[in-house]
């Protein structure tokens, strides 16, 4: 086994609120090997974006370790962190909000290079921007346009080019395609898979749509209210989903075929409950079809049911 590129140990992030602690990320352990993709799936408010940000130290964790290439990065100082950040980048969810409207495409892509003072020669910098635009499939004629002149798919390509500018090893992709049309989604997903092959990138891919991560992920983690409820290799998770929440997520995807039309689908009721001071026991219990009195007891943890397949549920203890 090779060493994981990125690893978290008992990572926790609580936000202080007036009503009490908001458990955004609660005891999450992940490890991603080099060149692999971990898909993180869950509904709005389950803490997936927070997890991505804590790993990059855009938010400071409350407890736990983030280990990058064997080194704990939580205790690094500003300067050391700046060096590490060049290797870790993020692609944001909303291509409409994550680009500065007052900068042209070339300025946006060149900015990380300028900030890190990697290329000082102007000619060379232009060449690098040009290369990056070519890699992500942006036509050169867009070099002096502003983001508002472009459509969502092209803007997301700018976001990807900016993330690639420093030759990172690890990229957190925070719902990069959820704001895009299906046909453009497919283009961007294909692009990201190509880039992974060509540059040996490692991804953490955050999304709420299980169908999106199926192609791109090697391993998938399902999150609910800050906790990991199921983790398995991609194929295994789709073939054999064990946690009731994973099953519900799969059931909720509308399928583009008439065969499933009249099938009665089990739709989970209700919404995510408040993550502020959660009750002990399984956090999904209030929406679960298989809830028993035992679910309210504490002490549930991830159990390995088969090779690499972990689930946290009373049914699989």
């Amino acid at each position: 086994m090779n060493m994981p590129l990125i690893q978290t140990k008992n990572l926790k992030k609580y936000f202080r609120t007036q009503k009490g602690d908001l458990h955004a990320v609660d005891n999450v352990n992940i490890d991603i090997n080099k060149g692999k993709t971990l898909g993180v799936v869950g509904e709005s408010g389950c803490g997936k974006s927070t997890l991505g940000r804590v790993i990059l130290r855009l938010l400071e964790p409350t407890f736990g370790e983030v280990i990058y290439n064997g080194n704990d990065i939580i205790h690094l100082n500003q300067k050391q962190m700046n060096n590490i950040r060049q290797k870790m980048q993020i692609i944001f969810q909303d291509p409409y909000a994550s680009l500065n409207p007052r900068m042209t495409v070339s300025e946006i892509i060149a900015e990380p290079i300028k900030v890190c003072k990697i290329i000082k020669d102007k000619e060379e910098l232009n060449q690098r921007v040009f290369d990056l635009m070519k890699i992500v499939g942006l036509d050169y004629r867009f070099i002096n346009t502003y983001p508002h002149e472009m459509d969502g798919g092209r803007r997301q390509r700018i976001g990807i080019a900016r993330a690639l500018a420093l030759n990172p090893e690890f990229i957190v992709c925070d719902e990069p395609v959820s704001a895009l049309d299906v046909s453009i989604q497919a283009q961007i997903l294909n692009l990201m898979m190509d880039l992974q092959e060509d540059h040996g990138l490692t991804y953490m891919f955050i999304t709420h749509d299980l169908s999106v991560v199926k192609h791109i992920s090697d391993e998938i983690m399902v999150m609910y209210l800050g906790q990991c409820v199921e983790k398995a290799p991609s194929e295994e998770l789709f073939a054999n989903p064990l946690h009731p929440y994973t099953q519900a997520l799969l059931d909720a995807i509308p399928i583009a075929s008439l065969k499933e039309r009249d099938k009665l689908r089990k739709i989970i009721k209700g919404e995510v409950t408040s993550p502020i001071n959660p009750k002990p026991g399984c956090r999904f219990a209030s929406r679960c079809f298989h809830v028993t009195a035992e679910c309210k007891n504490d002490g549930l943890g991830l159990v390995e049911v088969s090779q690499g397949h972990y689930v946290s549920c009373i049914l699989h203890k």
Binding site: S44, V182, M193, H208, D251, A252, P254, L258, R261, E271
Partner: protein
């Protein structure tokens, strides 16, 4: 029907000659990418195009035997909300943040109060509508920001249905929602549609949503309907417009394990400057010489209509 938007410098051809028929108690799905003219079509039916910019240049919109284009503004106001209502895409912005949800529902009922109901009768109707969409009636004194995205969309649906309309136009009602909440809202909408006997136009870019909810489908591209038919034609038919095939290729298939998706290359053409001939030809994998010069005529197999030279040639 044709619609153009006029700006200072350009004329944008948003909708270029479309024909749609929707029968009573049926659901029509309009599918297409951003910029295909789906929302413009919906706004035209309600005559809600931006004044002095949007203009319907040709065609008719016939609703219950009457032409809506020549109707007076005062008559139109009676149609909107009462006969035809609309559910907008983004529940976060389509509610008024400074009014409680109860007040917003009451407002719709009060404006269309043709039977001179008393205030308490209207209030009772507000409670009834909220319960219908699964919101406890004691929450009517709360403001939109106190609701989650899914709950807000339920409020929007309650307002749209408050006056028991004959036709509901739902413009991407679930695009902004999580998959689990999307499933809840769609299930509720089709249940209410059957209960109240409404017709519905469902605008979406998700073919999965269409397959689960519609009776008829129209695929729109660059302001034209390139393919339409009943649901079986689109999902189980043999012949398809290459654009429809591209849309299906873009959806990740959960049942098969393929490594790659097959998207359509390129982007939607600029509506200011549409290509000659078939508007899809620059992106089409089956493009022939004739496609570059001549607009394809509708070619039909019973209820299934396709506008494509390739399909036409291979079936003659």
């Amino acid at each position: 029907m044709k619609v153009i938007y006029k700006t200072d410098s350009d004329t944008i051809c948003a909708v270029n000659g479309i024909d749609l028929i929707l029968d009573k108690e049926q659901t029509l799905g309009i599918v297409g990418e951003t910029g295909a003219g789906k929302t413009t079509t919906a706004l035209s039916i309600l005559r809600l195009l931006p004044q002095d910019i949007g203009e319907i240049t040709e065609g008719q919109i016939i609703f219950e035997g009457k032409d809506l284009i020549s109707a007076k503004e005062s008559d139109m106001r009676k149609v909107r909300g009462e006969k035809i209502s609309m559910i907008f895409q983004d529940p976060m912005t389509s509610l008024n943040p400074v009014l409680t949800v109860g007040q917003q529902l009451y407002e719709a009922l009060e404006l269309h109060n043709t039977q001179n109901k008393s205030k308490s009768q209207l209030e009772a109707r507000v409670d009834e509508m909220l319960e219908l969409v699964g919101i406890p009636k004691n929450r009517k004194r709360e403001y939109p920001h106190q609701f989650s995205g899914g709950m807000k969309q339920r409020v929007v649906i309650a307002i749209a249905l408050a006056c028991s309309p004959v036709l509901v136009i739902a413009d991407e009602p679930t695009t902004a929602l999580d998959v689990t909440i999307q499933a809840q809202v769609l299930a509720m909408m089709s249940e209410l549609k059957n209960k109240l006997g409404m017709s519905m136009i469902l605008i979406t870019h998700d073919l999965g949503v269409v397959a689960q909810n519609c009776d008829k489908v129209a695929i729109m591209y660059a302001g034209e309907i390139v393919e339409n038919g009943i649901i079986e034609d689109i999902f189980e038919g043999v012949n398809h417009h290459p654009y429809t095939e591209g849309l299906f290729g873009s959806i990740p298939d959960l049942t098969r394990s393929t490594k790659r998706l097959n998207p359509i290359d390129g982007l939607m053409p600029d509506p200011i400057n549409l290509p000659a001939g078939c508007t899809f030809h620059p992106r089409c994998p089956k493009c022939m010489d004739i496609c570059r010069t001549k607009k394809p005529e509708p070619f039909s197999f019973g209820s299934h209509v396709i506008k494509c030279h390739f399909v036409q040639n291979s079936n003659q």
